[in-house]
Amino acid sequence: MYFEIDPKKSIPLYEQVIQQVKELCARGLLKPNEKLPSVRDLSSQMLINPNTVSKAYQELERQGIIITIRGRGTFISEELTGYIDPKKTERLQQALKNVIIDSHFAGISEIELKRWTEEIYKKLGGNGDEG
Protein backbone atom coordinates (compact mmCIF):
# COMPACT_ATOMS: atom_id res chain seq x y z
CA MET A 1 0.00 0.00 0.00
CA TYR A 2 1.40 3.34 -0.92
CA PHE A 3 0.60 6.66 0.67
CA GLU A 4 2.28 9.86 -0.32
CA ILE A 5 1.84 13.49 0.54
CA ASP A 6 1.69 16.00 -2.23
CA PRO A 7 3.28 19.23 -1.00
CA LYS A 8 1.74 21.04 -3.97
CA LYS A 9 -1.80 20.51 -2.72
CA SER A 10 -3.24 23.32 -0.69
CA ILE A 11 -5.47 21.08 1.44
CA PRO A 12 -4.35 20.18 4.96
CA LEU A 13 -2.22 17.06 5.36
CA TYR A 14 -4.74 15.06 7.37
CA GLU A 15 -7.28 15.60 4.60
CA GLN A 16 -4.78 14.27 2.12
CA VAL A 17 -4.49 11.11 4.22
CA ILE A 18 -8.30 10.84 4.31
CA GLN A 19 -8.54 11.30 0.54
CA GLN A 20 -5.89 8.71 -0.10
CA VAL A 21 -7.61 6.10 2.03
CA LYS A 22 -10.88 6.85 0.21
CA GLU A 23 -9.16 6.69 -3.16
CA LEU A 24 -7.49 3.38 -2.33
CA CYS A 25 -10.94 2.07 -1.36
CA ALA A 26 -12.52 3.38 -4.57
CA ARG A 27 -9.81 1.72 -6.64
CA GLY A 28 -10.27 -1.56 -4.81
CA LEU A 29 -6.72 -1.48 -3.44
CA LEU A 30 -8.15 -1.44 0.07
CA LYS A 31 -10.96 -3.89 0.63
CA PRO A 32 -13.58 -4.21 3.40
CA ASN A 33 -12.12 -5.78 6.56
CA GLU A 34 -8.59 -5.10 5.41
CA LYS A 35 -6.17 -3.91 8.06
CA LEU A 36 -4.67 -0.43 7.79
CA PRO A 37 -1.15 0.38 8.97
CA SER A 38 -0.91 1.57 12.58
CA VAL A 39 -0.56 5.29 13.29
CA ARG A 40 3.09 4.73 14.13
CA ASP A 41 3.82 2.77 10.95
CA LEU A 42 1.98 5.10 8.61
CA SER A 43 3.49 8.26 10.08
CA SER A 44 6.93 6.70 9.96
CA GLN A 45 6.41 5.58 6.36
CA MET A 46 5.10 8.95 5.22
CA LEU A 47 7.42 10.92 7.52
CA ILE A 48 4.59 13.03 8.88
CA ASN A 49 3.46 13.92 12.36
CA PRO A 50 1.69 11.00 14.11
CA ASN A 51 -1.03 13.40 15.25
CA THR A 52 -1.87 14.04 11.59
CA VAL A 53 -2.45 10.34 11.00
CA SER A 54 -4.50 10.00 14.21
CA LYS A 55 -6.64 12.93 13.19
CA ALA A 56 -7.24 11.44 9.73
CA TYR A 57 -8.12 8.03 11.23
CA GLN A 58 -10.52 9.64 13.69
CA GLU A 59 -12.29 11.47 10.90
CA LEU A 60 -12.44 8.33 8.72
CA GLU A 61 -13.89 6.45 11.67
CA ARG A 62 -16.48 9.17 12.23
CA GLN A 63 -17.46 8.86 8.57
CA GLY A 64 -17.84 5.11 9.00
CA ILE A 65 -15.11 4.24 6.52
CA ILE A 66 -12.83 2.54 9.01
CA ILE A 67 -13.26 0.94 12.41
CA THR A 68 -10.73 0.59 15.20
CA ILE A 69 -10.82 -2.51 17.30
CA ARG A 70 -8.93 -2.13 20.55
CA GLY A 71 -5.81 -4.22 20.66
CA ARG A 72 -6.29 -5.48 17.11
CA GLY A 73 -5.89 -2.42 14.95
CA THR A 74 -7.70 -0.35 12.37
CA PHE A 75 -9.74 -1.93 9.58
CA ILE A 76 -11.70 -0.85 6.53
CA SER A 77 -15.37 -1.02 7.44
CA GLU A 78 -17.31 -4.10 6.35
CA GLU A 79 -20.32 -2.11 5.16
CA LEU A 80 -18.24 0.12 2.94
CA THR A 81 -19.28 -1.33 -0.44
CA GLY A 82 -22.54 0.01 -1.76
CA TYR A 83 -23.03 2.31 1.19
CA ILE A 84 -24.83 5.47 0.08
CA ASP A 85 -25.16 8.46 2.36
CA PRO A 86 -28.10 10.67 1.23
CA LYS A 87 -26.52 13.86 2.57
CA LYS A 88 -23.33 13.03 0.80
CA THR A 89 -25.21 12.40 -2.45
CA GLU A 90 -26.75 15.84 -2.20
CA ARG A 91 -23.39 17.49 -1.52
CA LEU A 92 -21.82 15.70 -4.46
CA GLN A 93 -24.65 16.77 -6.75
CA GLN A 94 -24.18 20.37 -5.68
CA ALA A 95 -20.42 20.16 -6.16
CA LEU A 96 -20.88 18.71 -9.63
CA LYS A 97 -23.36 21.42 -10.51
CA ASN A 98 -20.79 24.07 -9.52
CA VAL A 99 -18.15 22.40 -11.67
CA ILE A 100 -20.52 22.37 -14.63
CA ILE A 101 -21.35 26.06 -14.17
CA ASP A 102 -17.69 27.01 -13.82
CA SER A 103 -16.84 24.95 -16.89
CA HIS A 104 -19.51 26.69 -18.91
CA PHE A 105 -18.03 30.08 -18.10
CA ALA A 106 -14.53 28.80 -18.81
CA GLY A 107 -15.72 27.81 -22.28
CA ILE A 108 -15.52 24.07 -21.72
CA SER A 109 -18.12 22.15 -23.68
CA GLU A 110 -20.44 19.47 -22.35
CA ILE A 111 -18.77 16.89 -24.60
CA GLU A 112 -15.34 17.76 -23.23
CA LEU A 113 -16.58 17.53 -19.66
CA LYS A 114 -18.08 14.11 -20.36
CA ARG A 115 -14.85 12.99 -21.92
CA TRP A 116 -12.99 14.04 -18.75
CA THR A 117 -15.43 12.10 -16.64
CA GLU A 118 -14.88 8.96 -18.69
CA GLU A 119 -11.12 9.40 -18.52
CA ILE A 120 -11.16 9.71 -14.74
CA TYR A 121 -13.33 6.59 -14.46
CA LYS A 122 -10.91 4.75 -16.70
CA LYS A 123 -7.95 5.90 -14.62
CA LEU A 124 -9.57 4.76 -11.40
CA GLY A 125 -10.33 1.50 -13.17
CA GLY A 126 -12.30 -1.61 -12.34
CA ASN A 127 -14.84 -0.19 -9.93
CA GLY A 128 -17.10 1.87 -12.20
CA ASP A 129 -20.42 0.51 -13.45
CA GLU A 130 -19.07 -0.15 -16.89
CA GLY A 131 -16.33 -2.28 -15.38
Partner: protein, 291 residues
Amino acid sequence: MRVKHVSKEIHHHKILTDIDFDIKTGSIVGIVGRNGAGKTTLLRTMVGILDPSFGDVLIENESIFRNPQLKQQIIFVPDSSEALKSYSTKEMIHLYKQIYPSLDEDYYLQLMERFALPEIKKIGNYSKGMKALFFLVVAFSTKAKYILLDEPTDGLDVIVKKQVLKILVEEVATNDVSVIISSHRLDELEFIANDIIMIKDGMVNSRYGLDEMKANYIKAQVAFESDLPVALKDQVTILKQTGRVYIILIDKNHDEIIKKIKLASPLLFEDLPLSLEDLFVARLGGDDDVS
Protein backbone atom coordinates in the same frame (compact mmCIF):
# COMPACT_ATOMS: atom_id res chain seq x y z
CA MET B 1 6.52 22.31 29.39
CA ARG B 2 6.05 26.03 29.62
CA VAL B 3 8.46 28.74 28.57
CA LYS B 4 7.26 31.59 30.70
CA HIS B 5 8.05 35.17 29.69
CA VAL B 6 11.71 34.39 29.12
CA SER B 7 14.12 37.21 28.37
CA LYS B 8 17.86 36.82 28.03
CA GLU B 9 20.53 39.46 27.95
CA ILE B 10 24.13 38.65 27.15
CA HIS B 11 26.64 41.47 27.74
CA HIS B 12 23.79 44.01 27.99
CA HIS B 13 22.58 42.87 24.62
CA LYS B 14 19.01 41.63 24.45
CA ILE B 15 18.94 38.24 22.76
CA LEU B 16 15.47 37.06 23.80
CA THR B 17 12.52 39.24 24.75
CA ASP B 18 9.49 37.92 26.60
CA ILE B 19 9.30 34.52 24.92
CA ASP B 20 6.18 32.76 26.11
CA PHE B 21 4.67 29.48 24.89
CA ASP B 22 3.85 25.98 26.02
CA ILE B 23 4.59 22.57 24.57
CA LYS B 24 2.13 19.72 24.83
CA THR B 25 3.37 16.19 25.38
CA GLY B 26 3.55 14.04 22.27
CA SER B 27 4.03 16.94 19.92
CA ILE B 28 6.69 18.05 17.49
CA VAL B 29 7.33 21.77 17.62
CA GLY B 30 9.39 23.56 15.01
CA ILE B 31 11.25 26.71 15.95
CA VAL B 32 12.10 28.74 12.90
CA GLY B 33 13.73 32.08 12.41
CA ARG B 34 16.50 33.71 10.46
CA ASN B 35 20.15 33.36 11.40
CA GLY B 36 20.79 35.29 14.60
CA ALA B 37 17.12 35.41 15.61
CA GLY B 38 17.93 33.72 18.94
CA LYS B 39 16.85 30.14 18.27
CA THR B 40 19.91 28.44 19.74
CA THR B 41 19.91 30.76 22.77
CA LEU B 42 16.27 29.86 23.31
CA LEU B 43 16.97 26.12 23.17
CA ARG B 44 19.95 26.48 25.51
CA THR B 45 17.77 28.39 27.97
CA MET B 46 14.98 25.82 27.75
CA VAL B 47 17.35 23.04 28.73
CA GLY B 48 18.84 25.05 31.59
CA ILE B 49 22.34 25.58 30.19
CA LEU B 50 21.70 29.35 30.25
CA ASP B 51 19.85 31.15 33.03
CA PRO B 52 17.19 33.51 31.75
CA SER B 53 17.60 37.17 32.77
CA PHE B 54 13.84 37.21 33.39
CA GLY B 55 11.16 34.57 33.26
CA ASP B 56 11.25 30.85 33.86
CA VAL B 57 11.01 27.41 32.26
CA LEU B 58 8.47 25.11 33.90
CA ILE B 59 7.82 21.39 33.75
CA GLU B 60 4.53 20.42 35.35
CA ASN B 61 4.41 23.89 36.88
CA GLU B 62 7.80 23.54 38.59
CA SER B 63 10.79 25.70 37.68
CA ILE B 64 13.71 23.75 36.20
CA PHE B 65 16.07 26.32 37.70
CA ARG B 66 14.76 25.91 41.24
CA ASN B 67 14.39 22.13 40.87
CA PRO B 68 17.46 21.10 38.88
CA GLN B 69 16.47 17.40 39.00
CA LEU B 70 13.73 18.30 36.50
CA LYS B 71 16.49 18.81 33.96
CA GLN B 72 16.69 15.01 33.73
CA GLN B 73 13.49 15.23 31.73
CA ILE B 74 15.07 17.43 29.08
CA ILE B 75 17.92 16.73 26.72
CA PHE B 76 19.56 19.05 24.24
CA VAL B 77 21.32 17.83 21.10
CA PRO B 78 23.44 20.70 19.75
CA ASP B 79 24.19 21.01 16.04
CA SER B 80 27.79 20.05 16.60
CA SER B 81 29.19 18.18 19.57
CA GLU B 82 32.88 18.91 19.31
CA ALA B 83 33.48 18.64 23.04
CA LEU B 84 32.72 14.92 23.24
CA LYS B 85 34.47 13.68 20.14
CA SER B 86 37.39 12.03 21.96
CA TYR B 87 35.02 9.88 24.04
CA SER B 88 34.24 6.30 23.13
CA THR B 89 30.59 5.33 22.68
CA LYS B 90 30.76 3.32 25.94
CA GLU B 91 32.23 6.25 27.89
CA MET B 92 29.56 8.48 26.46
CA ILE B 93 26.80 6.18 27.68
CA HIS B 94 28.51 5.92 31.07
CA LEU B 95 28.63 9.71 31.29
CA TYR B 96 25.03 10.15 30.25
CA LYS B 97 23.89 7.49 32.69
CA GLN B 98 25.22 9.72 35.49
CA ILE B 99 23.24 12.68 34.25
CA TYR B 100 20.15 10.72 33.17
CA PRO B 101 19.65 7.81 35.61
CA SER B 102 16.67 6.60 33.61
CA LEU B 103 18.89 5.91 30.57
CA ASP B 104 17.78 2.58 29.13
CA GLU B 105 20.86 0.64 27.99
CA ASP B 106 18.89 -2.15 26.35
CA TYR B 107 16.99 0.37 24.32
CA TYR B 108 20.27 2.07 23.44
CA LEU B 109 21.73 -1.20 22.11
CA GLN B 110 18.54 -1.90 20.20
CA LEU B 111 18.66 1.49 18.46
CA MET B 112 22.40 1.14 17.77
CA GLU B 113 21.70 -2.15 16.02
CA ARG B 114 18.76 -0.77 14.12
CA PHE B 115 20.84 2.04 12.64
CA ALA B 116 23.85 -0.24 12.15
CA LEU B 117 26.02 1.95 14.35
CA PRO B 118 29.14 0.17 15.62
CA GLU B 119 30.49 0.85 19.12
CA ILE B 120 33.58 2.97 18.55
CA LYS B 121 36.65 4.14 20.51
CA LYS B 122 36.41 7.76 19.39
CA ILE B 123 33.08 9.31 18.49
CA GLY B 124 35.07 11.80 16.40
CA ASN B 125 35.82 8.96 13.98
CA TYR B 126 32.16 8.50 13.09
CA SER B 127 31.08 10.08 9.82
CA LYS B 128 28.88 13.17 10.09
CA GLY B 129 25.73 11.16 9.46
CA MET B 130 26.65 8.48 12.00
CA LYS B 131 27.44 11.14 14.60
CA ALA B 132 24.05 12.76 14.07
CA LEU B 133 22.27 9.41 14.43
CA PHE B 134 24.37 8.43 17.44
CA PHE B 135 23.50 11.57 19.39
CA LEU B 136 19.84 11.03 18.60
CA VAL B 137 20.07 7.41 19.73
CA VAL B 138 21.63 8.57 23.00
CA ALA B 139 19.02 11.31 23.40
CA PHE B 140 16.11 8.90 22.96
CA SER B 141 17.77 6.27 25.18
CA THR B 142 17.81 8.71 28.11
CA LYS B 143 14.01 8.49 28.14
CA ALA B 144 13.88 12.25 28.65
CA LYS B 145 10.42 13.60 27.89
CA TYR B 146 11.58 16.67 26.03
CA ILE B 147 14.12 16.33 23.27
CA LEU B 148 15.55 19.62 22.00
CA LEU B 149 17.33 19.42 18.67
CA ASP B 150 19.35 22.20 17.10
CA GLU B 151 19.39 21.80 13.30
CA PRO B 152 19.19 17.99 13.45
CA THR B 153 19.35 17.40 9.69
CA ASP B 154 21.88 20.05 8.79
CA GLY B 155 24.44 18.72 6.33
CA LEU B 156 23.10 15.17 6.24
CA ASP B 157 22.54 13.19 3.06
CA VAL B 158 19.02 12.26 2.03
CA ILE B 159 19.17 8.73 3.40
CA VAL B 160 20.45 9.68 6.86
CA LYS B 161 18.02 12.60 6.92
CA LYS B 162 15.11 10.22 6.35
CA GLN B 163 16.40 7.96 9.13
CA VAL B 164 16.57 10.95 11.45
CA LEU B 165 13.01 12.02 10.64
CA LYS B 166 11.80 8.42 10.99
CA ILE B 167 13.18 8.01 14.49
CA LEU B 168 11.67 11.36 15.52
CA VAL B 169 8.22 10.44 14.26
CA GLU B 170 8.33 6.94 15.76
CA GLU B 171 9.51 8.14 19.16
CA VAL B 172 6.71 10.67 19.31
CA ALA B 173 4.15 8.06 18.20
CA THR B 174 5.31 5.34 20.58
CA ASN B 175 6.81 6.96 23.66
CA ASP B 176 4.82 10.17 23.93
CA VAL B 177 7.93 12.34 24.01
CA SER B 178 7.91 15.92 22.75
CA VAL B 179 10.47 17.00 20.22
CA ILE B 180 11.43 20.63 19.78
CA ILE B 181 13.40 21.28 16.61
CA SER B 182 15.09 24.40 15.41
CA SER B 183 15.59 24.17 11.71
CA HIS B 184 16.04 26.01 8.49
CA ARG B 185 14.73 23.05 6.57
CA LEU B 186 11.23 24.41 6.35
CA ASP B 187 10.15 21.81 3.81
CA GLU B 188 10.84 19.05 6.33
CA LEU B 189 9.30 20.77 9.32
CA GLU B 190 6.17 21.44 7.36
CA PHE B 191 5.16 17.79 7.49
CA ILE B 192 6.46 16.59 10.80
CA ALA B 193 5.83 19.55 13.10
CA ASN B 194 2.34 20.10 14.46
CA ASP B 195 3.27 23.55 15.69
CA ILE B 196 5.55 26.15 14.20
CA ILE B 197 6.91 28.98 16.31
CA MET B 198 8.46 31.82 14.34
CA ILE B 199 11.13 33.86 16.10
CA LYS B 200 12.13 37.30 14.91
CA ASP B 201 14.61 39.59 16.70
CA GLY B 202 14.42 37.45 19.84
CA MET B 203 10.63 37.58 20.03
CA VAL B 204 7.86 35.19 19.09
CA ASN B 205 6.60 36.62 15.82
CA SER B 206 3.83 34.10 15.24
CA ARG B 207 2.71 30.58 15.99
CA TYR B 208 0.84 28.23 13.68
CA GLY B 209 -0.76 24.86 13.96
CA LEU B 210 0.05 22.63 11.03
CA ASP B 211 -3.47 22.60 9.62
CA GLU B 212 -4.52 26.12 10.48
CA MET B 213 -1.61 27.43 8.46
CA LYS B 214 -3.10 26.10 5.25
CA ALA B 215 -6.60 27.04 6.36
CA ASN B 216 -5.77 30.63 7.31
CA TYR B 217 -3.66 31.62 4.38
CA ILE B 218 -4.15 31.50 0.67
CA LYS B 219 -1.39 31.94 -1.83
CA ALA B 220 -2.52 33.04 -5.26
CA GLN B 221 -1.34 34.59 -8.45
CA VAL B 222 -3.32 37.54 -9.71
CA ALA B 223 -3.04 39.93 -12.58
CA PHE B 224 -5.10 42.97 -13.50
CA GLU B 225 -5.41 45.04 -16.66
CA SER B 226 -3.51 47.83 -14.92
CA ASP B 227 -1.67 47.70 -11.60
CA LEU B 228 -2.84 45.85 -8.47
CA PRO B 229 -5.76 47.95 -7.09
CA VAL B 230 -4.56 50.26 -4.32
CA ALA B 231 -7.39 49.11 -2.07
CA LEU B 232 -5.89 45.62 -2.17
CA LYS B 233 -2.25 46.52 -1.79
CA ASP B 234 -2.47 47.04 1.97
CA GLN B 235 -4.54 43.94 2.55
CA VAL B 236 -2.35 41.31 0.98
CA THR B 237 1.32 40.41 1.26
CA ILE B 238 3.12 40.58 -2.05
CA LEU B 239 5.59 37.73 -2.29
CA LYS B 240 6.73 38.35 -5.83
CA GLN B 241 5.91 40.46 -8.85
CA THR B 242 6.75 39.97 -12.49
CA GLY B 243 5.17 42.44 -14.88
CA ARG B 244 1.49 42.55 -14.09
CA VAL B 245 1.47 39.17 -12.39
CA TYR B 246 1.59 39.25 -8.60
CA ILE B 247 2.12 36.31 -6.29
CA ILE B 248 0.25 37.27 -3.14
CA LEU B 249 -0.48 35.87 0.27
CA ILE B 250 -3.97 36.51 1.61
CA ASP B 251 -4.48 36.08 5.31
CA LYS B 252 -7.35 36.04 7.78
CA ASN B 253 -10.65 37.49 6.51
CA HIS B 254 -9.87 36.18 3.07
CA ASP B 255 -13.47 35.82 1.89
CA GLU B 256 -13.79 39.57 1.82
CA ILE B 257 -10.49 40.10 0.06
CA ILE B 258 -11.31 37.42 -2.51
CA LYS B 259 -14.58 39.21 -3.22
CA LYS B 260 -12.67 42.44 -3.76
CA ILE B 261 -10.25 40.74 -6.13
CA LYS B 262 -13.10 39.23 -8.13
CA LEU B 263 -14.91 42.59 -8.28
CA ALA B 264 -11.82 44.20 -9.77
CA SER B 265 -12.19 41.74 -12.69
CA PRO B 266 -8.74 40.18 -12.67
CA LEU B 267 -7.18 38.79 -15.84
CA LEU B 268 -5.81 35.97 -13.76
CA PHE B 269 -6.68 34.68 -10.31
CA GLU B 270 -5.43 31.24 -9.36
CA ASP B 271 -4.69 29.39 -6.16
CA LEU B 272 -1.13 28.29 -5.63
CA PRO B 273 0.17 25.73 -3.14
CA LEU B 274 1.26 27.41 0.09
CA SER B 275 4.45 26.36 1.78
CA LEU B 276 5.94 27.20 5.13
CA GLU B 277 8.66 28.95 3.20
CA ASP B 278 6.15 31.51 1.88
CA LEU B 279 5.05 32.34 5.39
CA PHE B 280 8.66 32.51 6.50
CA VAL B 281 9.43 35.08 3.80
CA ALA B 282 6.23 37.00 4.45
CA ARG B 283 6.60 37.13 8.23
CA LEU B 284 10.34 37.18 8.76
CA GLY B 285 11.77 38.53 5.53
CA GLY B 286 11.08 41.98 4.22
CA ASP B 287 14.63 43.14 3.74
CA ASP B 288 17.38 41.35 1.95
CA ASP B 289 20.07 42.06 4.50
CA VAL B 290 21.55 39.20 6.45
CA SER B 291 21.68 39.77 10.17
